[in-house]
Symmetry: C2
Subunit: 321 residues, 2 copies
């Protein structure tokens, strides 16, 4: 019996078949839960997981574990210390969120500019209402878009935004130029120019350095017509401050896909706000998620089987991504 | 007193000021209605209108009328015979709907692919629901888009769709190639390939030839997952047939901005259908509408004043556009 691979991610049958067909020397096991498989942890070489189920105890028991393939980009909830200690390789699916997140970003900019939620509400009420269209329905064309956290995903959003004739300004740690952006600056200089942005998209990762990055000082600098979109991590926003500025209508709209606490509790005041749009952390997801994640896994498994250590999307556990 | 120009279109003060400032030899008059101005019709040289208010009697009385500037693209409701007879020039605002309509088209494709109306409904209900995202939330990337009526607007939609990595197929009378399309075909060959389309956008104009162009035979050829979007004219669709196929869920969704009768009456069965999205004929409108329409008017007025007959967007009254 060759290599043993577990997938704690529930895969569609067609993907299971595909894996078994290509990797005939590998034994794939698809337990319904970690509990079901717990007794056999010592056998497994490779685990596919969303990174939310494995704890220190599991890793200790998994004596032969060499590789954890995480089907997400953040690894905040992996027991990092023991993984480092046991020199287990971790890879993730960085890059696969690019297309759905960029589509989400454009959808939300168009939706807010074109008052689409108002139109949907009118439709619910069977109301044919065209008043004030000439002043209220806006465009994204020629608007200025700030993307904070200008990496791979930001670049894809910027590429699409350029097609819509938007001006794209990127902010990252270095301030180094990234393709598809008209201008790039270091993140420290954000505050200075923030009054120029029509749309601000945050894709900041959730690290200690980005905790409560977005606070009153930022929001108060934005235009009254500005739209703030967070598709990064919830804890980068001080929600108390955002609630304050949205109650005072300091900016036009906030679109939030991520929150300090998820799921967002039913009593959270955000739900009641007409100038806040809430989606349940879905910006990066689509029906092509598993297909793209498995492409990365299959690439790496092929290399592993032929003895190559060349793996894509290796995670640096120190940096956390 | 020089040339007399009436605007039956209600313009913002800033635009009135701009016109008066540039064209000091022209007398601009902004009547609240045609009735208010009726007695003075014999004086006017140029009328700016949406083309819905002038009848044959008005044109007869307007002895000095040389030019009608229509702030829309269709001229269905102008009294064409008498205008031709009196050799009055008609120009329109062809081209200015391009940006808002293309943004509308992309918004609606993204909205349907990404189940955005479901997410908005969940938000109304304070419901954090992520089930089945991996099968239900789709993308527009790599999908096939058919644009029927591939002119200036279709080209702009195709340009944006290409940025989203869609395959763009255009249909027009000649089948001649139009930039930004991967393929172009004559409209007669549409039915044959229709089963390949994920999105079908109709931008057909409202002429005798396009009356009830879209009927059961077309809709039944579409994929069950297809989305049909009509931003052309309502009477190009046989609504009775569309209602039938949507009740039977033959296709996934229909997005309709135009209807056989507008406004759509509150009792119309379309309002009740979850798989139909209704907007009140707003796809081509935005807060930049007057600005862009006036650019065309100002260009033509400048030429007229310097005695040049070079006018953009001259309408051929025989063809109707």
């Amino acid at each position: 019996m060759g290599l043993i691979v577990w997938s704690l991610v529930h895969l569609e049958e067609r993907f299971k078949d595909e894996l078994r067909k290509e990797f005939t020397d590998v034994t794939f096991y698809f337990p319904r839960s970690l509990n079901e498989a717990n007794g056999k942890l010592a056998e497994v070489d490779t685990i596919i997981t969303y990174g939310e189920d494995l704890d220190e105890d599991h890793i200790k028991k998994a004596n032969n574990l060499k590789w954890i393939m995480v089907f997400t980009s953040g690894i905040d909830r992996l027991p990092k210390e023991i993984i480092k200690e046991k020199e287990i390789i971790v890879t993730n699916v960085k890059g696969i969120h690019k297309v759905p997140m960029a589509e989400y970003a454009l959808l939300m900019m168009l939706q807010t500019a074109k008052l689409n939620k108002v139109l949907i509400e009118d439709e619910r009420n069977k109301l044919w209402r065209r008043m004030n269209l000439l002043t209220e329905i806006d465009e994204i064309s020629s608007k200025t878009l700030f993307i904070v956290g200008a990496g791979q995903i930001g670049q894809e959003i910027a590429r699409l935004a350029k097609a819509f004739q938007m001006k794209t300004v990127g902010f990252n740690r270095s301030g180094n130029h990234v393709d598809e952006f008209d201008e790039c600056y270091p993140i420290q200089s954000l505050l200075k120019g923030l009054h120029q942005a029509d749309f601000i998209i945050s894709i900041l990762p959730g690290t200690d350095a980005t905790q409560h990055f977005w606070r009153k000082s930022h929001f108060m600098r934005m235009k009254p017509s500005a739209v703030f979109i967070n598709i990064g991590r919830g804890k980068t926003v001080k929600e108390e401050d955002l609630l304050f500025v949205m109650k005072d209508k300091e900016i036009k709209h906030a679109v939030l896909d991520v929150f300090e606490q998820e799921p967002l509790e039913p009593k959270h005041p955000f739900w009641e706000m007409e100038n806040i749009t809430i989606t349940p952390h879905i910006a990066g997801v689509s029906n092509r998620y598993h297909e793209r994640a498995l492409e990365i896994f299959q690439h790496n498994l092929r290399n592993k089987l032929r003895g190559s250590s060349d793996m894509i999307n290796l995670v640096d556990l120190e940096k956390g991504y």
